[in-house]
């Protein structure tokens, strides 16, 4: 087995209450690297397209990448892959923290869970030993409390990955939360509901083994030593004020979503939610994920007032942009409270905030009443925000409807509600407005898990980031379509590589390049590669995920964006007049991908990528 890999995967069958180790398929690791790339062929095998997401047949795949556990910067990451119960598509999430590092140091590349236990259980992994234990005592606990209880029961040095009440109650927006109070979350698409359907409360890992050694250890050490100062310098702004520092800049450029995507400018509100405002009020500390040199994690506490008691991971940019600005809530402490509730109950902050904004618009338009919600759902109301989050996490009241995601909720509420439900393939939009960066429309529409900013992260190339390895030598004009189809496809390929090696996307902001990644992959594993070769693997990975979706019935008809994004201008602010021409971009994109007009990878494309067996 190449260096960087542990060489084995833990398989768990909860129906049979048994587990066993299987060697990592070397050939697959060469063709798909690791992480969500390697998870693609595994999901085909363990949960073929068509598998009912909340049935025992679905698989929940936790995978590290070859970089995980090493000192390669920002590599302390892992992914969770499953068939999504929210979107019914390929489901994929990534998280930082220390859980992936612990798993690798315990001697495992990943864990594949199938089946359904007869009673609540958790999985305890201590180095090479695994054990399925009863979880009756912690079933019903929120994530922070269960983290404390299970680390007391196992090892204080252990790292947890847990669902909260939302996952237990099969809320379709349920997440899996890692690292307890320093929450790092795999959230999008409802993986927590899949875990809950298996009666699996969590996976607790203690890894005391050495970090993976490198094939060319001395050269890798020297390389990292030379590169780290620049990466630290590039990540300084993120370290100083966290991802929240992006809020005011996003508002300035028209990127920050406001009032369920209906408003164009909100500078005063954004300033109240900024990283600087956080630093001056509720910030208590910072934290780093494994092997990170940036340190964007925030610890916050609210000690007095209406939202007193908040104590844990602070809101990230996406949480501020959805629980905050999308609902016009400018009370930072209320947003911190809502974020903590999402972490404790195990909810995706992006989809949850989007569902609250959707409900507020339904209330404004008379489709939801005060009696339905239990209180007025006025724009900007922190009380309404926090109340609805609690309802959603506990699957009660109006929250039970909203917890099924805006697409389903709109169908249940009826009337014009579907117009207020902003999603693609059933996944609520993240907090970057495609009217401000046109490529985001195409990137969201074609993302395999539904509207996702991280599958392409293309707006950074319409801003100031360059990536010569994919032909972006200078930033592109954000309000034109020229060259965007090809750029989006190439960027998605790169992001797929990062999700497979395990490199944080924030590493790009700090200056990590594809050339760096290729060099580090060679030095670590001994496998000779190049940026172009890695990107070609990324293309293979993206296409295989697409094939999974095609086999689930998805095609061009689903590569869409909400009408509001395509037809309603923001009207003011930094992107007042922008409307992304998605249809025009889509044709260029399919051509660049080698897909048919219906968005299906052609036989020639699959053969070229070595995917004709799928």
């Amino acid at each position: 087995m190449a260096c960087g890999y542990a060489g084995k995967i833990l398989y768990v069958d909860l129906s049979g209450m048994r587990h066993w180790a299987e060697p990592l398929d070397v050939g697959l690791s060469e063709r798909f690297i690791g992480g969500s790339g390697l998870a693609a062929p595994l999901l085909f095998k363990e949960a073929p397209p068509g598998t009912e997401p909340l049935s025992p047949d679905n698989a929940l795949i936790f995978l590290t990448g070859p970089f995980t556990g090493t000192m390669i910067p920002t590599s302390g990451r892992h992914c969770v892959v499953t068939r999504s119960p929210l979107t019914l598509t390929w489901g994929e999430c990534d998280a930082g923290g220390h859980w992936g590092t612990a798993l690798k140091r315990a001697g495992w590349d990943g864990i594949v869970v199938r089946g359904r236990a007869e009673y609540p259980v958790y999985l305890w992994v201590k180095d090479g030993h695994a054990e399925i234990r009863r979880a009756d005592r912690v079933w019903g606990m929120d994530v922070y409390d269960a983290d404390e209880a299970l680390r007391t029961e196992t090892s204080r040095d252990a790292v947890t990955g847990l669902i909260g009440p939302a996952g237990e109650k099969l809320v379709l927006l349920a997440s899996i939360v890692f690292d307890g109070r320093d929450a790092r979350v795999t959230a999008r698409g409802g993986p927590g509901a899949v875990m809950g359907s298996k009666l699996l409360k969590g996976i607790v890992v203690s890894g005391t083994g050495p970090r993976p050694s490198a094939h060319h250890q001395k050269s890798l050490d020297q390389d990292l030593k030379a590169r780290l100062p620049e990466i630290v310098r590039g990540g300084k702004a993120l370290n100083e004020y966290g991802s929240a520092n992006g809020v005011t800049g996003a508002e300035f450029s028209g990127d920050l979503p406001l009032m369920n995507w209906r408003k164009g400018s909100w500078p005063e509100g954004a300033a109240k939610l900024s990283g600087k405002a956080m630093a001056e009020t509720i910030l208590t500390g910072k934290f780093f994920c494994g092997a990170c040199v940036i340190g964007c994690g925030r610890r916050v506490a609210v000690k007095t007032g209406r939202w007193a008691g908040v104590d844990g991971a602070g809101p990230e940019y996406e949480s501020l942009g959805t629980l905050g600005s999308l609902c016009l809530v400018d009370d930072l402490e209320a947003v911190a409270k809502a974020t903590e509730l999402c972490n404790r109950l195990g909810l995706d902050t992006i989809s949850t905030g989007s569902a609250v904004a959707f409900a507020m618009e339904c209330y404004e338009k008379g489709l939801i009443t005060k009696a339905d919600a239990g209180l007025p759902l006025e724009w900007g109301s922190g009380e309404a925000l926090v109340t609805l989050v609690e309802q959603m996490g506990n699957a009660v009241g109006l929250g039970a409807v909203l917890g099924r995601g805006v697409k389903r909720a709109a169908q249940e509420i009826g009337g014009l509600a579907p117009e207020y439900a902003l999603h693609s393939k059933g996944l609520e939009l993240p907090a970057h407005d495609p009217r401000a960066y046109y490529s985001s429309a195409l990137s969201y529409a074609t993302s395999n898990r539904g509207a996702c900013h991280l599958a392409g992260l293309t707006h950074i190339f319409e801003r100031a980031t360059v990536m010569p390895e994919i032909g972006v030598e200078s930033p592109m004009d954000r309000f034109t379509g020229e060259g965007k189809g090809r750029m989006v496809a190439a960027a998605q390929n790169v992001m797929g590589v990062m999700d497979s090696l395990k490199v944080c996307k924030f590493g790009l902001f700090a200056g990590i390049t594809v050339t760096d990644m290729a060099r580090w992959y060679t030095l670590l594993t001994g496998r000779e590669t190049s940026p172009a070769a890695l990107i070609a693997i990324g293309e293979r990975i993206f296409n295989l995920k697409r094939v999974y979706n095609v086999r689930c019935g998805f095609s061009r008809k689903d590569d869409t964006m909400p009408d509001r994004i395509l037809t309603l201008r923001r009207g003011e602010g930094g992107a007042a007049r922008g409307l992304p021409p998605l249809g025009e971009h889509l044709a260029d994109y399919y051509e660049a991908r080698g897909w048919s007009e219906e968005g299906i990878p052609t036989r020639e494309t699959l053969e070229r990528l070595g995917l004709d067996g799928f």
């Binding site: 310098r233 005011t248 005063e268 300033a271 990283g275 940019y317 996406e318 801003r463 100031a464 930033p475």
Partner: protein, 86 residues
């Protein structure tokens, strides 16, 4: 002798203006000149006028830079509101 540089401010990354600075000028010199000219148009939280602190990302020719880095004739300085995503 003077060096002539361009300064681009985030988001649109359109050329805001060119500046002429003394030879040996640093990124910090360019930043302070830009702030004195245009900070009234900058987004909240990007720059603290009282302390002079800058909360964004500095780049020269699209590579990360520090305030102390020297500038050469024709350099392009980008003052970028921080990007976020996660």
């Amino acid at each position: 002798m003077l060096v002539r540089i361009s300064v681009l401010l985030g988001a649109e990354c359109k050329e805001e203006a060119s500046l002429e600075l003394e030879e040996g000028a640093t990124v910090g010199d360019a930043f302070r000149r830009a702030a004195s000219l245009w900070s009234s148009k900058w987004p909240a939280g990007f720059y603290d006028r009282d302390s002079g602190d800058f909360y964004g990302t500095l780049m020269v020719n699209y590579r990360h830079a520090s305030m102390g880095d020297p500038l050469a004739d024709g350099d392009s300085v980008v003052l970028l509101p921080s990007m976020a995503g996660g």
